[in-house]
Symmetry: C2
Subunit: 568 residues, 2 copies
């Protein structure tokens, strides 16, 4: 396993060391009390006041619910036949085939609340029997052919950051499973600066790509919350969206081409800059979640590093006023590159948890203007200074016309500093007896308010019991000309007896509600296992059948990530 970067055992142990890593990189030497911190610093999980408040609001009793230590996990022996293991060693080399306990555990499942609950309880039943580390498209193609021939399931493993069970599919035939970890295929193969294109291995991660591009004065700019861990191939396989996607575009918008290795052969898809040569097969590979094969190479659009970057905060009196203003911006093509509008519940929680001198000042400002907490909007502009100036000025007029008040740059910069922090916070909240999960959808501007109401109502109804009720916080995270996404965070007192059922019931109610109200099944989390039962509602039974037909052609033995995406 030499030369492979260390993989953190996420979800198993305490995550404070990772919080420190983030703080170091993002903030420099240490926290600066003069700035506004929209998430708590790493000392306490929650400021005492917030903890008291949450306890009162949720009916939650803070308690210690630590995960089972790694050493106590019972892991079934690897089921890969010796002959198969030998074949893989012959194909890839001894170093590229691992079935030791730690490697298998660190390739088990993803990061959904359900994944974490299982893992924390000591359930490692979704661990693969072995992990392979191929070094090339040819390696991957050979592995897929071999596995197809001998009935071995292949689960591609990127960063392990799926939050919809993308790594937790169940094979109906219960065949042995290998995880395919592409971390050895993680280099920049070529950079075409005039065409703003780079070709990279699909196992590369965002930070390494940004570092490689930096010396050319370029950036990629895809920044989802999973940025530190997720692989570029994983983004492609799940139609990811990042925090700047409103301006930069979704990940799929940035893919000019890719290589998809399948059990039936290798597809080279995409013709830059554009083609009218028939249906879009590139779009069929994007979002295929490992069910058609493995994405091994990507040709991505990059751009010059922005010369000007500006984040700032605004405040609306109400959610309706905020949505109306964003809709007007969208209609006139004036949306900033980053847009994040928090509803009153999320705004209140953010302000309550915010630390530092800046936070006190902000709370004072809002009080003085008699605005209450209202709804916080974080916006960001990036690009050439003159263009940013013109866009920002035009957008500011629309925001002011819509009743918004500018809060200044500290709010926006605090958000930018902590943009990757929430998952760390979640791990620690889970230690204290809380249910913490997120879900997301998107809807047209017209349907958005209805979808918002429907999801909140469904979650509240499902998670309210005598003496307990959930906190449901929502923000708009991506704007489009025709609508926007909603990102919902749920906190509740965990049902210690039936924690999985508690969330499954709530999730089912929320999904039914958002689809009925006109929302999409998922805006950027993908389908995985969790959204599978509703796929036919989104694309129709015939649409599902078309996908099955394509899978049958490319993966006739059904070895590629079975149990994911396609309903049974």
């Amino acid at each position: 396993m030499a030369d492979l970067p260390e993989l953190t055992v996420q979800g198993w142990g305490p995550s404070s060391s990772r919080v420190a890593t983030v703080a170091d990189r993002e903030d420099g030497a240490g926290p600066d009390d003069g700035v506004l911190e929209l998430v708590p610093d790493s000392g306490d999980v929650l400021p005492r006041a917030a903890r008291r408040h949450l306890s009162r609001e949720l009916g939650w009793t803070p308690r210690s619910t630590p995960p089972v230590p790694v050493r106590d996990i019972a892991l079934a022996p690897p089921r890969l036949p010796g002959l198969m293991r030998a074949r893989f060693v012959a194909l890839l080399g001894e170093d590229a085939v691992a079935d030791d306990r730690l490697t298998r555990l660190t390739h088990a499942g993803g990061k959904s609340y359900l994944d974490l609950l299982r893992r924390r309880s000591g359930d490692a039943s979704d661990a693969p029997d072995a992990v392979l580390f191929p070094g090339s498209t040819e390696d991957v193609a050979a592995v897929l052919r071999t596995c197809s021939e001998h009935g071995v399931v292949v689960v591609p493993f990127g960063g392990g950051t799926s939050v919809v069970g993308g790594l937790a599919g169940t094979d109906a035939d219960d065949r042995p499973v290998v995880a395919l970890d592409l971390r050895r295929m993680a280099s920049v193969r070529s950079v075409d600066v005039p065409s703003s294109l780079v070709t990279v291995g699909a196992g590369m991660r965002g930070p390494a790509l940004e570092e490689a591009l930096s010396s050319e004065g370029l950036t990629f700019g895809h920044l989802p919350q999973s940025w530190e861990f997720a692989s570029l191939g994983g983004y492609a396989a799940t139609r990811s969206a990042g925090q700047s996607s409103t301006g930069v575009g979704r990940f799929s918008d940035l893919v000019a081409g890719l290589t998809l290795a399948t059990p039936s052969g290798v597809l080279e898809l995409g013709s830059a800059p554009a083609s009218a040569a028939g249906p879009d097969l590139l779009g069929l590979a994007l979002g295929s979640e490992g069910t058609l094969g493995v994405i091994t190479d990507l040709r991505l659009r990059v751009r010059p590093k922005p010369r000007s970057t500006r984040y700032e905060g605004w405040s609306f009196r109400s959610w309706a006023a905020g949505l109306a203003a964003l809709q007007r911006l969208a209609r006139h093509d004036l949306l900033p590159d980053v847009v994040r509008l928090s509803d009153p519940d999320e705004t209140r929680a953010n302000l309550r948890n915010a630390a530092g001198v800046g936070a006190r000042a902000l709370r004072g400002t809002l009080r003085a203007r008699r605005r209450g907490d209202g709804c916080l909007l974080v916006v960001g502009w990036e690009g050439l200074p003159t263009i940013v100036r013109a866009r920002r000025s035009a957008a500011s007029s629309v925001l002011r016309d819509g009743g918004a008040v500018r809060l200044g740059r500290r709010v926006g910069e605090s958000w930018a500093r902590h943009r990757f922090a929430a998952p760390y916070l979640r791990d620690r909240l889970l230690d204290t007896g809380l249910l913490v999960e997120t879900l997301e959808t998107a809807a047209t501007w017209t349907a958005l308010p209805t979808v918002y109401d429907a999801v909140r109502r469904a979650l509240r109804d499902a998670l309210t019991t005598p003496g307990r009720r959930p906190l449901v916080m929502t923000h708009v995270s991506h704007g489009y000309p025709t609508g926007a996404s909603l990102y919902v965070t749920v906190l509740a007192d965990r049902d210690d007896d039936l924690p999985l059922q508690q969330w499954l019931t709530a999730k089912r109610a929320a999904t039914d509600a958002l689809l009925a109200a006109g929302g999409t099944l998922t805006h950027h989390h993908a389908v995985g296992v969790d959204h599978r039962p509703w796929l036919a509602q989104e694309i129709g039974p015939l649409g599902v059948d078309v996908l099955r037909t394509v899978k049958q052609r490319l993966d006739p033995q059904g070895i590629c990530n079975p149990g994911v995406l396609l309903p049974d």
Copy 2:
């Protein structure tokens, strides 16, 4: 056939009446000598000097080669069995089933040079046996089921403007053929102003859509040269691009959803504003060219009418300098909404043919600056005045840095006035013994110069004979961050003995050359019959197989536009 708009018998007769129609609508009362006219007015096909020059340059002898009159076309009797005809009448009504001579002739083939040559020679072998005019998605679905059951081929007919033989497929089993003309499905069904979405019947045409949107202060903005005739469903089926696509986006970028009726059922595809629910099936319907079914309804993104519109001309000394400047604009996201850079040959022809006082002044200006003809760039900006101002100012700096000289608004406005005129001019040039055809491709900025050279060389080599050589004129018509499209117009003395072979040889050479140099098979003309032999080169044999598999699922009897898109 009451209530159906009149259909012009294009390509059969003289087209001067249509030229007059365009002139009326675009120019008002009549030509204005004070403005610059980049195409000749309707009096003569070519100014005498241009005709003399072309004659010398091409080795072309102007001669009269009129089309066979409509009355002299021999048309085989309709082959649709009486029982089938009766079934269609029972399904759709007597008025919606036509097999009279004129209706069949007006639904024969498209507008490629090969289509026109055949039609002008009196060959109507590609005329359908009957034309059906369904009124709803249910009608279309019922027709497709019936045709699938009884072995009748269905060719969807939009505006009949395909230039790649999209209506000229040959059925291997030689079954009877019905054309499906959706002109009765041509209304706006709903407008969602806040979400910038309209739902329309696929038979609607661009002008009617713009008229319907105008009262809401909206525009769609898709303006290909076929705009007056092509249907919205046709744009979707062929992945069309329009003259403002650099800014507005390709047609496929503007489709939020669509209904695809297939022999196996109806698909409702697309989830606005965005979804991560698996592979993109909407992208599979777009560009399917009638081979998977018939697009019956479209949900399209519209936008507010631009408050500011500005077209202007610039001049570069060389093609290389022009490309370099556009590439720099693209890289910094500064491309104007309309971009059209003509190479020296096209610029020279435009200036030579330009009429009016303005043209003389322009020629004088260029001479005075000792620039020769150089390369003409037409750019257009649309949108909010402050944003247009900032973008235009930043772009102008880049253009000036790249050595361009501003020519002012008259050049740009003349282009905008005549943006739909070229096809009319072509019909009349065909009457004088000329070969006139266009082809197009796209490539990354890095590959673009090589592709340009390769296509020109291939066309010149193929069309040069003793005493004769072609004129090959090229422009960039659409810019992207990663590359641009090339649009090539070819004029040559027609080989009166073997006109089809003359062009087929040249087209084959050009296509081989552009693919070898890294160009895409087609940027916006689609595949049709003409590009079919090269599809596997663009998407691979396995890619073609995936499309075949999808077709087999949706159209098991292969009745949907056979002989088009998919190679045998």
